[in-house]
Amino acid sequence: MEYHIDTQVCVIGAGHAGVEAALACSRLGLKTVIFTMNVDSIAMMPCNPHIGGSSKGHLVREIDAMGGEMGKNIDKTFIQSKMLNVSKGPAVHSLRTQADKAEYSKAMRQVLEQQENLTIRQAEVTEILTEDRKVTGVRIHTGTVYRCEAAIICTGTYLNARCLVGESITETGPGGMQRSTWLKDSLNGIGIPLRRFKTGTPARMDGRTLDYSKMTIQEGDKVVIPFSYSTDPADVQIEQVPCYLTYTNEETHDIIRQNIDRSPIYAGIIEGTGPRYCPSIEDKVVKFSEKTRHQVFIEPEGRGTNEVYVDGMSSSMPDDVQQRMYRTVPGLENCVIVKNAYAIEYDCVNANLLKLTLETREIDGLFCAGQFNGSSGYEEAAAQGLMAGINASMKILGGEPLILKRSEAYIGVLIDDLVTKDNREPYRMMTSRAEYRLLLRQDNADLRLRKYGYRVGLISQEEYDHVCRKERMIEEEVKRLKSIRIGAARENQEYLRARGSADLKTACSLAELMCRPELSYESVAGLDPDRPVLPKEVTEQVEINIRYEGYIARQKRQVEQFEKMENRRIPDNIDYNDVGSLRLEARQKLKEFRPSSIGQASRLSGVTPADISVLLIHLEKIRSQKGEI
């Protein structure tokens, strides 16, 4: 007799994707079990010790706006924070924090433990159980079955993993954790093929053995801005820990070149595809041979440890080469390695097999998120975890699925890219991937996405009312500033001159004045006696909306065109064999990807405008046959 336990959702893996998925489901009222190989590795950060950064900071803000946990958790456990790109436009400002790794993991575990409806279970899931192409449960290594309505796979880099250091290969997950072995066969058995990706991490060193006087100190911002909309800014003004900057040199590069044949990548031992944006130091030296030095950041792993992370020098060289190469870097001459750098290979799925909800097309109720989908990075994983959790819940609860558009969120871009495009390496978020980034700023994630969090039930009435009020205040203030005329009276001219601004030739609105580069909302206050007292989060938006109005308008026009195509849905049951005069290549691509909208179809490589026309005509035919307009 099979021993079984009934639940509603099973989340496989408790990394950054898994915890967001499990929290979303349990918070939406579903009985949820989260499985982890080891409860001490919940929300572990096996690679770099930072959260956020260019475009990843946007993802954290978006996760927070919809009721995810990452932003709140890093606000509790960061040890340094910096807003990047502040000299640039508001669209590319990006928050980046150094985390206390152990504290981050501990704090997240506490959140899980205190969450109603959520059970943590240390176990290796070995099998996905299905009936009629529908998930019915999962089996763990002991044979126990957890019956469920949906399962979310978030195995990260653990599945069938192996770590490589020179000639040495160990069959473990990241950081020496036990890997998961059995799920692979089960997935292949239910028609989910896997592929192999690779990534790497640099060495950790004993901080006491480093000479910081030879490096440049990198401190955090004086005034820290929290990630989460629900964190009180007063709570994050803490004493911060610095990072340090140093550089590789020709001596470093020579050692690498001399030993390049001992690198498992260059020796051909590694089969997986690695990410180009996160190259190992070997890759950097080989591919950018003209560069005489590369940056190296020394980042603390936490307050409670001496361990430091050597950012910029990930490697899979043998131990002895690592030791020699690190010691050529100024400040690292006497370094002692605690954990060596290594490359890791793992099984993951081609996300082209998924719907935009992150559910597999093959198996009803089976969702996938995080690094398992071929992404990389904690933030990318968390974002997918949240969306998979929401959509699994919506499916069980009978709600509308939540699919964010490319024009609405970085998360929308992330998932659309993963599902639609042909990704041959781990996918990292970048600002350049977002076409409409001027609209998708980190400062307006709440205005963009709170409504969705509220709709699905992760954002409270109170939080939602707050953002609605904020939106109204912004609109009214922009309108007011556009309506107030400033005449060319002498006292006005003097006011402007005093602020280094040219005289007015004719009267203009306050809004127009604010657009002068040397002026701002703040500095025209003296011309605006009736100005209402508004919170900073409102005036900040007012300023951005007015200053960049022309550019914002241009992007909005692009979005309108884009959305017209996105809104033309393609029915799930379309049979592409019925669509006459499609070219063969297009027909195959469409069959394989099964795009959900005309917009998505148009982004598939190999589908031409003519094919899209043919498809549109076919859709019209279906529509008129159904007797609709």
Binding site: G89, H294, R428, R603, P609, A610
Partner: protein
């Protein structure tokens, strides 16, 4: 990508609805809610009055003019046309439709189409009229699909031919422009994605230089488009000379048939005769003129007047001189008229004909017709239309004068296409917006909005998708990540 349905049903489209050819009448079709308004902007009645086409009785066709309005509101006549108006749903597309029947000739058709686009229409994609007809319920699916089949195959054909056409210098020029733009975008993006590794300090000056050079190069392309037009449209060529010098013989020789009546009686050609021929790889629109001379004959006088008109409109003048007779007062008068044209940039070739007969004039005498009037003498060629001597050289002279080898390679196919011209124009505008952003002290991330647009638009000329180029470029050129 997928321009076909970008503006599904909401905007007004236009295209040349007849086959593009030198001959006959060309129809420009405008379809959509703005069709009548756009037509009204360009159409003038026979007494040059404005009219609101939407108030016409649907289904009517009227004579009138297409005009171009300059910045000061002055109107310039472009072409005589017949214009018809059909009201929704009683048209092919089931939308409001205006059709402009032009006199044909690719130049005029393209010119008019450009005006229509400038007045607010979007260039229709292949098959778009038919698609609208189907969506409007005007034609059934079988027919629509048949048309779409044709379009797909035409598309494929067009793609192939355009691929072939684009092998030339022009496509590599566009590629070069795009590469430059992409490099700048990739640099900016790398710096934004990895601010700790790449700095943008001092970058704007460099970008400004790049923008200025891009602007110049694109302006160049656009101005060469006019030369390309001459080539594709043909060179308006006037054959001129005093009576019975052999003008009609030259026309006939080039046209290869007895087109004009050739006699030995002076003044046989009383009117201008036209012919289109290919000489030295160049299309010439030849106009044989009546000999220019003072005359009492009324009919002949009209001919002379027209000859003078032809002289004024010509891109190239072929000036014939009879070597068997001494230079006359008439030759000198013609030379004077030509000198005026030369100063306007018109090109000229002197043909000293009848070398088969005894020679009465020396080369110096002919040259002094110009030199004595302070003007450099145009290229001079001795020939005989009787024997055909010098005819081969004539082709070479013409090719040389119009740098045709160069132009043909550079522009012939390329920028004579309105869509391509529009694309370059839009890219140019975007680059100017970048310059504006730089001058307004905007930060670098704003530049990439317009740079990206320029890159995308130029890509439509080559038929290349934008999507992943940028990411590829970033990874190949910049060492990103930690």
């Amino acid at each position: 990508m997928a321009l076909v349905f970008d503006h599904l049903h909401t905007d007004t489209i236009a295209a040349i609805a007849t086959a593009m050819s030198e001959a006959g009448i060309g129809i420009i079709r405008i379809s959509g809610p703005e069709a009548a308004a756009i037509g009204s902007r360009l159409y003038r009645t026979p007494n040059r009055q404005k009219t609101d086409i939407s108030l016409w009785r649907p289904g009517t066709i009227r004579f009138g003019y297409i005009v171009e309005t300059d910045r000061d509101g002055k109107e310039k006549l472009i072409d005589e046309v017949m214009l018809s108006f059909m009201k929704a749903p009683h048209s092919y597309t089931t939308e409001d439709t205006v059709e402009i029947n032009t006199h044909g000739g690719m130049f005029l058709m393209n010119r008019t189409l450009e005006l229509v686009l400038a007045a607010g229409a979007r260039l229709a994609e292949p098959g778009e009229f038919t698609k609208r007809a189907f969506l409007g319920g005007r034609i059934d699916l079988a027919r629509a699909e048949a048309v779409m089949d044709l379009i797909s195959s035409e598309n494929e054909f067009a793609r192939k031919t355009s691929a072939a056409q684009m092998e030339g210098a022009v496509s590599s020029k566009i590629r070069e422009l795009r590469e430059k733009i992409l490099y700048e975008i990739a640099f900016i993006e790398s710096a934004l994605d990895d601010p700790e590794n790449y700095t943008l300090e001092g970058y704007t000056d460099k970008l400004m230089d790049t923008c200025i050079s891009l602007e110049m190069e694109m302006n160049d392309l656009l101005s060469h488009a006019e030369e390309g037009r001459i080539l594709k449209e043909g060179i308006r060529t006037a054959i001129i000379g005093r009576p019975n010098v052999g003008k009609s013989s030259l026309l006939n020789h080039l046209a290869g048939e007895e087109r004009a009546i050739v006699t030995e009686i002076e003044g046989t050609t009383r009117d201008t005769l036209s012919e289109t021929v290919r000489v030295g790889g160049v299309l010439l629109h030849l106009t044989d003129t009546a000999g220019i001379r003072e005359t009492e004959d009324k009919v002949e006088r009209i001919g002379v007047h027209r000859a003078e008109k032809a002289l004024e409109n010509a891109d190239l003048i072929l000036f014939l001189i009879d070597s068997s007779r001494e230079l006359s007062q008439e030759d000198a008068q013609i030379a004077e008229k030509i000198i005026m044209r030369l100063q306007e940039g018109t090109k000229c070739i002197l043909l000293v004909n009848k070398t088969d007969l005894s020679s009465e004039i020396k080369e110096e005498e002919v040259k002094s017709l110009f030199i004595s009037r302070g003007c450099e003498c145009p290229p001079l060629l001795f020939c005989s239309l009787q024997t055909g001597e010098g005819m081969k050289e004539l082709g070479e002279y013409i090719a040389k004068l119009f740098h045709t080898g160069e132009i043909a390679e550079k522009n012939e196919i390329f920028l004579s296409n309105v869509r391509h011209k529009n694309a370059v124009r839009e890219a140019l505008e975007s680059i100017c917006l970048v310059k504006e952003s730089i001058m307004n002290g905007m930060s670098e991330d704003f530049f990439s909005i317009d740079l990206m647009n320029a890159y995308r638009v130029l890509g439509t000329i080559l038929g290349e998708a934008v999507e992943d180029d940028l990411v590829e470029e970033i990874f190949s050129k910049f060492c990103l990540g930690k």
